[in-house]
């Protein structure tokens, strides 16, 4: 009887530890998915609302993608350049695969929306765009993050003299003995003149 009692307890404890370990793994994957979504969303938000010389053009303009390096997003300079972007495996802005994100995928959607109803895409430019980043993790679970950008945003103020600003920071954090650094993006809401 006592052996049975101890056995039940041992099995229960083992299952508890197992479920705790599984939950930790799932939480880790979800946290990585959120980090990835934030990294992409902040990268998109650092861009201008529209191409200054072709404000009505939707999508990438000529010369913004290097045919020899199609994964490189260095030429993406306005929000709608990112519409339809699929990055799998996820790559950073320079087109290099992000360490530790094997099995993840990222897609970006940019739409005009009317401020009166931001849930429905608009055919007209109502001076507001909705950016949606969707990340799928190795188990197929998706994480979606949305943000809005206005054409009157501080990012779209045209300075009186040509100036180079820092609008976004790519942050890499290595926590404890994690093999891969965590990547985060941060938007600088107030413009910082590049040194």
């Amino acid at each position: 009887m006592s052996v049975f009692f101890v056995g039940v307890l041992a099995v229960g404890a083992t299952r508890l530890v197992g479920s705790f370990s599984l939950a930790t793994t799932i939480q880790g994957e979800q946290a990585r998915a959120r980090n990835l979504a934030e990294l992409f969303l902040t990268e998109v938000l650092r861009a201008r609302y529209a191409q200054p010389d072709e404000p009505d053009h939707w999508g990438l303009e000529d010369g913004e993608v290097d045919p020899n390096d199609p994964l490189n997003r260095d030429g993406y300079n306005d929000l709608d350049d990112y519409d339809g972007l699929v990055s799998q495996p996820p790559c950073d802005r320079n087109g290099l695969p992000l360490d530790g994100y094997a099995g993840y995928g990222v897609s970006v959607e940019v739409k005009y929306v009317d401020p009166v109803n931001i849930d429905v895409a608009s055919a007209l430019d109502c001076k507001l765009k909705r950016i949606q980043v969707t990340v799928s993790d190795p188990k197929g679970k998706t994480t979606t993050l949305r943000a809005l950008r206005s054409s009157a945003s501080a990012n779209d103020n045209i300075p009186q003299a040509a100036t180079t600003y820092v609008t976004w920071a790519d942050v890499r954090l290595r926590l404890g003995d994690e093999p891969q650094p965590r990547r985060r993006g941060a938007n600088l809401f107030n413009r910082v003149v590049a040194p």
């Binding site: 006592s2 009692f5 101890v6 307890l9 041992a10 229960g12 404890a13 508890l16 530890v17 705790f20 939950a23 930790t24 939480q27 979800q30 946290a31 959120r34 934030e38 969303l41 938000l45 401020p115 931001i118 849930d119 109502c126 001076k127 507001l128 979606t144 993050l145 949305r146 943000a147 809005l148 950008r149 206005s150 054409s151 009157a152 945003s153 501080a154 103020n157 938007n187 809401f189 107030n190 413009r191």
Partner: protein
């Protein structure tokens, strides 16, 4: 009739059984404490991650509130009379939360009485237990349009 040897064996058996029960109860208590500790740690971790996720999403939601306010004002030349100083707009859903914004006339608490007065636009995002508020200062430019004053974006802690 019970012999002295039988009594000794019986006492020894009871002693052994007693030790086994103490061991079992001890092991059970130890496993219970470990189990409860694991459950508590797991719950705390889930809660901390949830709060962190809420705070991050609230940040995007609050910045979106500011952008929504800017677009709404840019689309509405009569915004000074459409909105009342210090009154939050109706909440709009975004991500897992909601946002709202308000305008504050920093000169005389009246948006409608002077077109040249600057106003501060506050955007609030609420996701779960997290709330974030950002604000920007709006000024009227030489083109009579409203512009965000450079370097005026700030995080509000007391809204």
């Amino acid at each position: 009739m019970t012999s002295r040897r039988d009594i000794s064996l019986s006492r020894h058996g009871r002693k052994a059984r007693g030790s086994a029960y103490v061991f079992i109860v001890g092991a059970a208590m130890l496993l219970s404490v470990i189990g409860l500790g694991i459950v508590a740690a797991s719950r705390l971790q889930v809660r901390a991650q949830g709060l962190s996720r809420d705070a991050e999403e609230a940040s995007f939601t609050a910045s979106s509130a500011v952008e929504h306010g800017l677009a709404t004002i840019a689309n509405n030349p009569g915004w000074r009379t459409s909105y009342t100083h210090g009154v939050w707009t109706a909440s709009i859903s975004l991500n897992r939360g909601t946002f709202t914004w308000k305008l504050v006339d920093q000169h005389d608490n009246n948006l409608a009485n002077n077109n040249s007065h600057s106003a501060r636009l506050y955007g609030k995002g609420v996701v779960g237990a997290a709330t974030r508020v950002y604000s920007v200062l709006l000024e009227v430019g030489a083109d009579s349009l409203v512009h965000v004053q450079p370097a005026s974006w700030r995080t509000e802690l007391n809204e």
